[in-house]
């Protein structure tokens, strides 16, 4: 179940219904806290951050016992969350359980909306975690995103062990993005501590980012502008033609 990024206003009715009708909730403790308003006696199986495979196997074991299990994910259950791991496990070890993936609004969508309309044209999402993916694969993808001129959202921009992923990513993007390309830095989306900031590519400081921050970089066509409310907004025009026309 994808519960969206924090705020109940972003939680789809399908997620709500699944949580309400289930007998067991399995998930990272903080995510279970975020749906506490829906609790009505469900057994809660709280797990620490990390150790995703344990969480998934526990959920599958409960389902095999005939329990109705909600495996609670932040954002979209299918995006850097648990759904793929569930299918990976039952592909290797078939289980007679019904699986229903409930999509949700992912962090990059909420961040883009709060900052304007940065994903108005072609975009990609890249996880910078090299725990399960070799860095060479990530680097190949970064080069492709740079050359393909996608709007790029970075998940897992930092880990406890490695801190230079974002610096490397920006170094790869640099040749393909003007220095005034908008960069969106978002954290605690949908929560009281929410922070969404727009800076220019050339001024971005990786030190401004912690493990739980989402970083988005515009395409070469993305732009930002200040409005009368004193805030800056970033968007990516839907067509290439217009911006080029305006510039000519």
């Amino acid at each position: 179940v994808g519960i969206g990024p924090g705020a109940p206003e972003w939680r789809a009715p399908a997620a709500r219904a699944a949580l309400e009708s289930s007998s067991d909730w399995v998930g990272y403790g903080l995510y279970l806290d975020l749906v506490a308003d829906l609790a009505s006696g469900q057994a809660e199986h709280r797990f620490p951050l990390g150790g995703e495979e344990n969480r998934v196997r526990h959920a599958i074991a409960l389902a095999k016992e005939g329990r109705e299990v909600a495996l609670v994910c932040s954002g979209d259950a299918g995006i850097y969350a648990m759904a793929a791991l569930v299918y990976e496990v039952i592909d290797l070890e078939p289980a007679r359980i019904a699986v229903n993936v409930i999509p949700g609004i992912s962090a990059f969508q909420a961040a883009a909306a709060k900052a304007g309309a940065l994903i108005g044209h072609d975009f990609c999402c890249i996880s910078l975690s090299d725990l399960l993916t070799p860095w060479e694969v990530i680097e190949k993808r970064l080069k492709a995103a740079a050359e393909g001129d996608f709007v790029v959202s970075f998940y897992n921009p930092r880990s406890l062990k490695r801190r230079d992923q974002l610096q490397r990513a920006f170094a790869i993007l640099k040749a393909h993005r003007p220095p005034d390309t908008p960069v969106v830095i978002a954290s605690n989306l949908g929560r009281p501590e929410e922070r969404v900031k727009i800076v220019q590519f050339g001024e971005f400081d990786p030190a401004d980012v912690d493990m739980l921050t989402l970083v988005m970089v515009g395409s070469s066509q993305s732009t930002s502008f200040a409005r009368g409310d004193g805030r800056t907004y970033a968007y990516t025009p839907r067509g290439y033609a217009k911006k080029r026309e305006a510039a000519e």
Copy 2:
């Protein structure tokens, strides 16, 4: 306002609240039909498909008159929808109106969830419409997506005028995807006529796709398998390590 892909169960409470509290709904007629259950006397401004700029300018003009306007989009208001165009217009012609973008579940998320967990690792979205984007730019992006090994979702796979975009896209992807790479074909998501089909890359037939279909192609790591319910599911494992290990 992004209302999600069709079904009310995918419509976030934020979208619902915005629709309920607004005085005017502006949008493509079919999208207004999809939220008819929330109507309570709002003035409806129905537009035909296409002509997005007219829709956006009409919504902005109403807002300038002091109306509370919901510009209704399918999926996510920020993804191939109206939000970027709103910012584009008010960037060129500043207007003293408040703008609030409400994100939603986009079609690729619903399709991936119904088909399994295809977007379990890095992915991108590409529009194949060359109405506003030159084909060379789209082709550059297709090459990048192919080489970068992203899971790729194609929006606007066909237009009335051009019918060979998908064929060209698959020709570019071919060198970088095994023939058994899962392809998800989805249409009418969240509606009674919903159709979600998984085929193999090597067997994909572009004739199976119309203008309103979403096509998703896995990465080289994506895989599909049949379950006891007789259906096929496609997923992309979260790590590269596992599949390689299993193959060795």
